[in-house]
């Protein structure tokens, strides 16, 4: 899949090289599947048409390992990478990422400077957010009707069957606490304490034997479709695309959703820095972010993009209610606390792994 893409891209490049010697090629890395498709449609294609440059799209599974390996070996081949917030902060801390000058970002159409147009937390030293996404849980309404709260994910009696969970303590511990009755506003304060962590793991213990663990974002819709699980945590956009795009009877439960950013970062020593920065500024302008939302149900990171979001590309589904940021979906929502995770992920990962292996 990945290799064939690269091959296709390089072949395409080889053919076009003679014709357009002046054009540059940048490598943009993202999470694959429906999400990469939304970026290709909304960012890559118009940018290539506008500048004549090429974008080579690669997939990865998140994390900083490849970036670290490339930077430390001094052979950086990636120009821009789509990462999660905690990785953006950590990569910046560890000196793996280029600092990004926010003044290159275009202002909103009404003249609001980018620094005010982006929602809070969307801009950091080394990263510029493009979307707000959310970890939710979803179920197959044709098989398990009546699921409506985060408690149901942990309720094996009312809803027997396997659960799909992401193999990562991040978001999972928060969900466990919320299902255990901790209000969203107290979740991180509770997780700061040893008792709080114990409580989260105790809650996870109650369903541990019925869990199918997933790692790649494309897996949860597949697990649901195969009937391997009756409910699964997932990235909201993936479920939306399976439901709206492929007509699957999947429903998202917004209760207990955990919001996060996806951000562009540039590995230190990226080979085509200028073209990549141009792409970065272009792809995070107001219109592009709004366009992306017509391909996948992730919220734009700019306030000015909100009103421009229209219909899904099937021409009939209104996107507004499917955004993590929609009013109705925020009743019991949590914003991922990246500071907490940057501080505690080593310890909690260790504990999670030990818990998992037992």
């Amino acid at each position: 899949m990945k290799l064939s893409k690269v091959l296709m891209a390089t072949t395409a490049l080889a053919f076009s090289a003679g014709a357009a010697l002046a054009s540059e090629s940048i490598t943009v890395v993202s999470w694959g599947g429906a999400y990469t498709k939304s970026q290709v449609e909304a960012y890559h294609k118009p940018w290539m048409a506008k500048t004549g440059n090429q974008v080579v799209s690669e997939d990865y599974n998140g994390g900083l390992a490849e970036i670290k390996a490339q930077v430390e070996a001094g052979t950086v081949t990636w120009d821009l990478v789509d990462v999660e917030l905690s990785d953006a902060i950590r990569g910046c801390d560890e000196g793996l990422l280029e600092e990004i000058d926010h003044s290159i970002l275009p202002a909103a159409p009404d003249g609001t400077p980018a620094s005010e147009d982006f929602i809070e937390g969307a801009l950091s030293d080394c990263a510029v957010a493009n979307i707000v996404w959310s970890t939710v849980f979803a179920y197959d309404s044709s098989k398990t009707p009546g699921v409506d709260s985060i408690d149901d994910l942990f309720d094996l009696e009312a809803f027997p069957g396997k659960r799909g969970l992401r193999k990562n303590p991040k978001s999972l511990l928060e969900m466990a606490l919320m299902a255990d009755g901790v209000p969203a506003s107290d979740v991180y304060a509770t997780l700061e304490t040893d008792e709080g962590v114990d409580r989260a793991f105790a809650k996870l213990d109650t369903i541990k034997d019925s869990v199918v663990w997933w790692e790649a974002g494309a897996q949860p819709p597949q697990l649901l479709a195969d009937g391997e699980v009756v409910m699964t945590t997932a990235y909201n956009g993936r479920i939306f695309n399976a439901a709206a795009g492929e007509g699957k009877p999947f429903e998202v439960v917004w209760d207990g959703q955990i919001m996060d950013f996806d951000l562009w970062v540039m590995p230190k020593g990226a080979p085509n820095k200028e073209a990549a920065l141009d792409f970065l500024a272009y792809s995070t302008d107001t219109q592009r972010l709004a366009d992306q939302a017509s391909w996948i149900s992730y919220g734009p990171a700019r306030k000015s993009s909100g009103p421009l979001v229209g219909l899904y590309n099937d021409g009939k589904t209104e996107m507004g209610p499917h955004m993590p940021t929609a009013e109705a979906n925020l009743a019991n929502a949590l914003v991922n606390n990246f500071e907490f995770w940057a501080d505690n992920q080593d310890e909690l990962n260790e504990r999670f792994n030990a818990w998992l292996a037992k």
Binding site: G63, L64, A65, E66, K68, R90, C92, D93, E94, G95, K162, F201, K208, V211, V212, W213, D226, G227, E228, E339, A342, D343, N344, Q345, D346, E347, L348, N349, E350, R351, N353, A354, W355, L356, A357, K358
Partner: protein, 416 residues
């Protein structure tokens, strides 16, 4: 007459012994010259990188390189008495410099590995370190009361040790303390020893299953006429030509709850539709898939050894009154032992380092130590710990090899 008491001379008058040595040296040099590219290649791309990476398991100069003043100031601290003003002053000086050089993130990440929460403590304090004045300890505590906690200073002390036994200790579920002592890791954070043990257990079981399944196959192959046996041998080799990933994914399709095997079980009434067997995403899945994948590594050495055992031996045994079983057990089997030794060692050592198959089909209780090494390489970026785990694994495999050599003898092994 020539003088026979003198050394033998070559045609040109030099002693024959010397000429011989020269000729031998030249041919050895030539042989070495031919092998040199391969040796150099192996050293450069294989042995040196391994050594460099393993080195990280015991050496970590990140803190001491970036925070030299504070490292020096901490060197003599006993980790019991309260931290001194001198240590605080050195810390503030280093924090200022680390912030200027933008290395504070690296420092903070390093110390955070020892004590959660110190990352934000460091980055926060570094921001205002420039404005701090003596007495520095009070200034630090005023900025954040965590600086009054001796555990923070202990964590820094551990991070500042260059030749750090902490990673290897952690690979063995031990905790390295600031005063240089070791203790067992907390109960809910112990994981590595258990995984090492499980890795050995799975590898052992896979080897045994391979032997049980592979021995009859190899026997059949070696006794059939060449035409038929070649055909069957291709069937054994066929999986070799298929990607490891494809084979593993095929097992997912076969074994999952809604998969082929379970469907068959339901059809034949061995399971009910609601209560299907869990054959994958657990240890069972790992065992089945790994046994299948490693089977050729057992069959091929067995086959090559069995091929050399003359069938006349067993016939002779039978003609002298041995039963089929005795003839096999007393005559045939002992001759096939070198093949068993080679196949078992090959399977076992390959299995110990197996990674992708358990990652895909292992679920939670089918994970092996290599999956944790992978986790630390790719996810947590704690390459030091990954290296230490690799070091422990390597030492263990070498140890097994040594035992094998003592018990069976390495020269008693035939690979083909």
């Amino acid at each position: 007459m020539t003088d026979t008491s003198g050394p033998l001379l070559a045609a040109d008058g030099t002693p024959l012994k010397k000429r011989l040595a020269q000729a031998m040296f030249r041919s050895r040099a030539r042989a070495f010259g031919l092998a040199f590219p391969l040796i150099a290649f192996i050293i450069v791309v294989f042995i040196l990188p391994i050594i460099f990476l393993l080195w990280q398991g015991i050496y970590d100069a990140r803190y001491s390189r970036l925070m030299p003043t504070s490292t020096a100031a901490m060197a003599d601290w006993d980790a019991v008495s309260p931290p001194t003003e001198e240590m605080a002053a050195a810390m503030v000086a280093d924090l200022v410099k680390a912030r200027e050089n933008k290395t504070i993130g690296q420092v903070a990440t390093r110390v955070n590995r020892e004590l959660s929460g110190t990352r934000s403590l460091f980055t926060k304090s570094a921001r205002s370190a420039k404005k701090m004045e003596a007495p520095y300890m009070e200034a630090l505590i005023k900025k954040d009361k965590d600086w009054a906690d001796i555990e923070v200073w202990k964590a820094i002390k551990i991070a500042s040790v260059k030749y750090n036994p902490g990673y290897v200790a952690s690979a063995l579920d031990l905790k390295y303390n600031a005063d240089g002592s070791f203790e067992r890791q907390d109960e809910d954070r112990r994981i590595h020893l258990m995984l090492f043990w499980r890795t050995i257990e799975i590898s052992f079981l896979v080897t045994v299953f391979c032997l049980i399944l592979g021995y009859p196959v190899a026997f059949l192959l070696s006794t059939l006429p060449t035409k038929t046996s070649n055909l069957l041998l291709i069937l054994v080799l066929l999986p070799f030509w298929t990607s490891l990933l494809v084979r593993t994914t095929a097992w997912i399709a076969m074994l999952q709850a809604q998969g082929v095997m379970n469907d068959l079980f339901v059809v034949f009434g061995l399971a009910t539709d609601e209560d299907r067997f869990s054959l994958i995403y657990n240890k069972t899945g790992t065992l089945i898939a790994m046994t299948h994948i490693l089977l050729p590594f057992m069959i091929l050495p067995l086959y090559s050894v069995m091929k050399t055992i003359p069938p006349s031996y067993t016939r002779a045994a039978k003609s002298m009154g041995a039963t089929n079983w005795t003839a096999f057990w007393r005559v045939y089997f002992p001759q096939s032992v070198p093949g068993i030794g080679a196949g078992a060692l090959l399977c076992f050592i390959l299995a110990i380092g197996y990674y992708i198959t358990p990652a895909l089909v292992g679920g939670q209780d089918g994970q092996m130590i290599s999956n944790i090494i992978d986790f630390h390489m790719r996810k947590s970026l704690n390459w030091n710990l990954a290296a230490a785990l690799g070091l422990v694994l390597l030492v263990f495999v070498l140890f097994l090899f040594w035992i094998y050599d003592r018990v069976v003898g390495i020269d008693n092994m035939k690979l083909g």
